[in-house]
């Protein structure tokens, strides 16, 4: 476990930069994390996915699979990859301030 400094705050992250304490997250931080993974602008569609990831994690304890994300977030799989080309589940989780999804699907 390491800590990084972002927006003048100390944050606990894993080796890949995923926040370990979701309660340390806020929307300003999301914008910073998005920038660090190459997404310069977060649109309403991005936010829809990010908040879905976060809500699912906070209510169930695990991040949704790409299948569930495509079926129930309101954004289909094709668009998910347009919004997050380097892996929707992984990047949305990182921006949403939740731990890296563990599943293979």
């Amino acid at each position: 476990m390491t800590t990084i400094r972002l927006l003048d705050r100390e944050l606990e992250v894993d080796a890949e930069g995923f926040l370990q304490k979701p309660e340390q997250w806020n929307e300003e931080l999301a914008v910073e994390i998005a920038r660090s993974v190459g997404i310069t602008e977060l649109t309403d569609r991005h936010w829809k996915v990010i908040m879905f990831m976060r809500d699912t994690y906070l209510s169930t304890g695990s991040a949704p699979s790409i299948r569930t994300l495509g079926k129930t977030s309101g954004v289909d799989v094709k668009e998910l990859y347009k919004l997050f080309p380097k892996g929707p589940a992984k990047l949305a989780a990182k921006i949403a301030g939740i731990p890296k999804p563990k599943g293979c699907i």
Binding site: S65, I66, R67, T68, G70, D76, V77, K78, Y81, P85, K86, G87, P88, A89, K90, G103, C104, I105
Partner: protein, 156 residues
């Protein structure tokens, strides 16, 4: 030694059983989830995975499959393959892994490019219309190597 991240994978699916098809789909989808470029190349009985009238009828091999820990004579009885397939499909669904037809479409929607092996298509007398719409092309082995150039090739 420095390790460089994988940029592209081309996964060959050569078998037509449930346990023969899933690993290739999981590898290709998993690659896309990590932002890795991915191709799927279906050859021989693996073509069943993208053949419209067959992809929902894929079964677990219950004969000649020691990993199943089932006596060969039992695996050969009528209905056993159906039953084992049904049990395994339920387990797969409970893990939020899609059935094969849906999984192939998920791969395509995720940006995996799907190809069929020309020699196998000719061998089985299949036509383009026998396959799912998301199939990009029927290609030769030479074209497969061109497409796979610069990446890893995985045979399943």
């Amino acid at each position: 030694m420095s390790t460089q991240a994988i940029q592209k994978v081309s996964v060959i699916v050569s078998r037509g059983s449930l346990e023969g098809i899933y690993p290739g789909l999981i590898l290709a989808n998993g690659a896309r989830m990590e932002g890795i470029e991915a191709n799927l190349f279906f050859t021989f009985f693996g073509l069943d995975a993208i053949t419209s009238r067959r992809q929902n009828r894929i079964k677990v091999a219950t004969v000649g499959n020691p990993g199943l820990h089932l006596p060969t004579w039992l695996g050969a009885l009528p209905g056993v393959s159906w039953l084992v397939t049904r049990m395994m499909s339920r387990r797969i669904e409970s893990l939020d892994i899609p059935p094969i037809a849906e999984f192939v479409q998920l791969c395509a929607d995720s940006g995996v490019r799907l190809f069929a092996c020309k020699a196998s298509v000719d061998l089985f007398g299949l036509k383009r219309e026998d396959f799912v719409d998301s199939l990009e092309d029927v290609i030769t082995v030479g074209e497969f190597y061109e497409m796979a150039a610069g990446g890893e090739i995985i045979f399943t």
